[in-house]
């Protein structure tokens, strides 16, 4: 028999996994997905209570949770876009300047592996007659 405490335990496990992911990951998007995972655990709890109480209030509340999660997703992703435009990185530890006063900065023990340098796009010589330039009269 699958009874209420089984569903509540699964909700608790989902919530905990989301919490661990949120606290330990660095990529902004993965952190946000972990937060959504926590919301899924809560939604599961609510729907289980609704089933076992025999009324629909839990399901209605879950609908509101989903609506709020959607709002949160929209605004959070807009913010992530803005943050990316500033620092060209989705790593949350580049924003250490926002930390609370008194906390020490979290630095990597080993430097991150150097990103592969982008090869510059090949510059082709312009076709046609070149315009006159300084030191180079019109040819």
């Amino acid at each position: 028999m699958i009874t209420l405490p089984h569903y509540l335990a699964i909700g608790a496990i989902l919530f905990t996994l989301g919490l661990i992911g949120f606290l330990s990951r660095r990529n902004l998007i993965v952190m946000f997905l972990s937060a959504e995972l926590m919301l899924q655990g809560v939604a599961l709890n609510l729907v289980a209570f609704s089933r076992f109480h025999g009324n629909l209030h839990g399901q209605v509340f879950t609908l509101f949770v989903i609506a709020v999660a959607a709002c949160e997703a929209g605004i959070a992703l807009a913010l992530f876009l803005m943050l990316y435009r500033r620092k060209r990185s989705l790593d949350v530890s580049v924003w250490q300047a926002l930390r609370e006063p008194g906390l020490e900065e979290m630095t990597d023990l080993e430097p991150l592996p150097a990103e592969a340098k982008e090869e510059p796009l090949p510059q082709l010589s312009p076709a046609g007659i070149e315009p006159a330039r300084e030191g180079r009269p019109y040819v």
Binding site: T3, L4, A9, A12, I13, L14, F15, T16, L19, L23, S24, R25, R26, N27, I29, V30, L33, E36, L37, Q40, L44, V47, A48, F49, S50, R51, F52, H53, G54, N55, L56, H57, Q59, T62, L63, I66, A67, V68, A69, A70, C71, E72, A73, G74, I75, L77, A78, L79, F80, L81, M82, R85, S89, L90, D91, S93, M106, L112, P113, E115
Partner: protein
Amino acid sequence: MHFALVVLSTCGLFLLLGAPFLSAATVIIYAGAIIVTFLFVIMLSQQAGPSGADLRTREPALATATGFVLLATLLVGLQRVYDWRTVDAAIGHAAELARAEKIDPDYLSPAGPLDMNNVGTQPAPPLTDKARRFLDEMRAALDRVRVAAPRGRDDRRLADHRLVLDTEAAINGLEVSGFRFRDEDEVRTDAQKIADNLGRLKAVRDGSAAFDDVVVSPYGVVQPATSREDPGREPNEPRPLPAANVAAVGRTLFADHLLAVELAGTLLLVATVGAIAIAGGRREKAA
């Protein structure tokens, strides 16, 4: 992709729980709209390749420890509320003592039989270890099943039901006398009374027994004992949800939660405007 799998799994569980509308809504909104939005963001925030930062985690040991502490707290809370095995074991021990033809001498106090004529002046006889454990087990079980009586119409405070008081009196009697009464039948009677009362209180908690005219279901609903909507149903089985789930959800939404609906609509509107305002500015205008 893992997140999409998790969303699909939870919506499968929603189906099991009798929420088909919610399962469909979850799949559509989460694994549909939100993940598509993610894809757009990932597209717009292209990095030169998998960056090394994704492989490093911040404080993984501390985060995992915190997560496990939280999980342990939640699971222990669930076990305290929903696990009845200790109470069943206690009822079993009390019933066993009541049925025993000869009371196990390990229970009996080494002091002599209680002199009923001058009870007040005698010191309490010492209890053996087994007797002490038995009494502690009974008291713990009583604490689990103790039900405060629901408020009567004229009663302004919650009082302990007389079953609880009777059981407490029996346990205290056994303790004070050190398990030695004038004859062993009284010990057996007391043990039987404890077993019966604990069983009955547990049934009240379960919702399978009435309790001064009301039935307290294990899921928090108090209903009068006489009105039973569906006589074919077990007393402690939850009431079935309406089969027309979408219609019923809509009815509940607009009848009971209208204010919340309006507020949620306003919130969605503000969120949309906010998201466009934050991310919609053109690159030239950005500082």
